[in-house]
Each structure stands twice: as C-alpha cells, then as structure tokens.
C-alpha cells in the first residue's frame, strides 16, 4: 500500500492507495481539507476505484470534470493537490 501527503494551501491531503498493474484497487483520502458538499469525498473515492493511473495531469483533468459536474467546491485546495497526492500514493514514485 502506498501513502502520500500533500500540503495544500489549507489543509493536508493524505492518500492511502492500493494499486496493481496500473489500476487503483482501493483508496482512502483523509486530512483536514474542506470539500463541499462534504459527502462528495466518498463519491470521489468510488469513482477513482478502478481507474488507470497515467499521469498527474490526466488525474487532475479527471477530477476537474468530476467536481464540476457534481458542483463540488474545494476551499483552500485544488484538484491538482488531490491529483498529486493520489498519483504519488498509487505509484509510489514521488519519493518523500
């Protein structure tokens, strides 16, 4: 299992990820960030499970679309922050 933390402007985003053959099998996002509506965090996690990980850019694009379509607001963090944390946790390729 990979773990990675990204410090956004407001809050820490911590991702724990289990991946195999480039696919996200399971993941959990914790931290002191702000996302609205709050329960969209679990929706996000569900949508990420099964996704193929290619790059931070592609993940950011995926999150951007998802958040926009659901009217989700991040306060003090960006889709890029989440993309980076997810990518690094799932690929174990960002060092510390």
């Amino acid at each position: 299992m990979g773990v990675y933390e990204v410090k956004s402007r407001k809050g820490l985003i911590r991702v724990q990820c289990i991946s195999s053959r480039g696919l996200i099998r399971d993941l959990r996002i914790t931290g002191d960030f702000f996302i609205y509506p709050e329960d969209s965090l679990w929706f996000l996690e569900e949508k990420l499970k099964g996704l193929r990980i290619r790059s931070i850019d592609e993940l950011e694009e995926f999150l951007n679309k998802l958040l926009k379509s659901k009217g989700v607001e991040l306060v003090g963090s960006t889709p890029r922050d989440f993309a980076e944390a997810i990518y690094c946790a799932c690929t174990n390729s960002c060092g510390d």
């Binding site: 407001k10 820490l12 960030f33 509506p37 965090l41 679990w42």
Partner: protein, 273 residues
Amino acid sequence: MTRGLRVLLFETPKDPYYNLALEEALFLLHSKGIIKDDVLRIWRNENAVVIGYFQSPKEEVDLEYADKIKASIVRRFTGGGAVYHDLGNINYAVITHGKTSTVYEIYEYLLKGIIKALKILGLDPWRENINDIVANNRKISGTAASIKGSTLFLHGSLLVSTDLEKLSKILRVSRKKLMDKGVSSVKYRVALVEDLIGRRIGYWEIIDAIVKGYSGLLGLQPYFDMPTKLEVLVADKLYYGKYLKHEWNFERKPSHYFKDVYREIDELLKTRF
C-alpha cells in the same frame, strides 16, 4: 419573519458526543425550516479531541496520551483539523440564512462576528488563510463551515485559557505541515486570548462579547433560550445512532452510512407536524 438571534448556552461538557449531536440537530432543523430564528450557540467540552469529518484519529491524535488523560475523541460533521477542547476553549456556532453560492463566502461573512467579539475584548484580530482568526500573528480561533439549502453554518473554537501543554501533546502534527509552517511544534503557532490580553477573562465576559459580535453582524436582537423538546429528541437520535458510534468516530464512515438515523428523524418530524 425572524424575531431575533436565539442564543443557546446549553452545553454538556462531560459528554462531548452529545454536544456534537446537538450541534448537528440544530443545523438540520434550521435547514428543514423548523428552527426559524438565527441561532448562536456557545458551548464547551471538558476534555476531548474533536476531529474533522475527513480525518483519521490515529493520524491526528496521540491515542495513548488521550487514553492516559481520559480525553474523548469525537468526530464533527464539518471538515478541517483536530482541536483539543477543555473548559478554556470556547466553541461558538452560528446558524443563519443566506444566498451565498460558495462556502468561501460563508467564511468571509460569518468570521466578521467573532472578529467583532475579539475587538470588544481588546484584541486586534484579523482573518487569515481563509478561515483562521489570528492576533499578534498567532492563531487563536479555527473555524469550519457547512451549508444545507439556504442554511449557512459556521462553528469555531476559541483558545481562551486552554492547557497548551496538553494540546501539543495530544495532537499529532504531520511533518509536512510543520515544514510548511516553519515551526517546530504546534504550540508555537497558537496563542491564548488571555495571554494576548494579559489578564484573566471570565466566562460571561466572553459570552457577552460573542453575543454582541454576532447580533451586531446579523443585525438582530439577541435573546437567551433553551433547546426545545423536539431539538433534544433529534439530538438524542443523532447521539445514540451516530455520535456514540465507533463507525462514526473512528472509521471515517460518511453521514449517509447512518441513513437509518436520518430516516427516524424524518419520521419523528412527520408525526409532529
């Protein structure tokens, strides 16, 4: 029509689970139009860590130390970080109507009330990093907002005379966060209102300042009140069905996991109206 600002000082300091259950009950009932007036609630916990909705207790809390000093660990329904509550920490919650389209605007708007309150106490505070209250470059209050329909909700904790040694021992702070803040320990970034003012402040002095701050901001006459029977019944449902549960406090289960509780509340509301 709004009659005024309903001020609730009801608190259960020895039962932080109930304090948080009532907090959600008030927000819920306001969003359903059952509570019509704006609400300002001021309350305390005696010895608890309150963690944010998306946090994991074992990442945020020194569980061994919490056990040693018998501090409870309770999750709240809003995002943000973990806070240590003792009687020197005053919590305030504001519930009002608004037309804001973003939560960011709730912070901009509703933090003005606590800033007014702290000015009355003689400080020169400002809002920093979206939703922190800072004075003399030290954080004295952290806040978290939520929104349900047209109901805006903000709550915050104010460090008046909290035991900072316990605070810094019980809260774990990630290395990345410390690097970002450039400080060596959590206790150097926060300060106590009493230390900044340089004297002891009584409970009623704080209450008076917060009430003036928010009644001034909202333009409403404050009146003191108690929770109604219905509010207590709804809080009871949330207390037994959610806030006392391990799944809520420790497993980061979402609110919709507790759908039975919300269904029971809806049924209760139906039978009473």
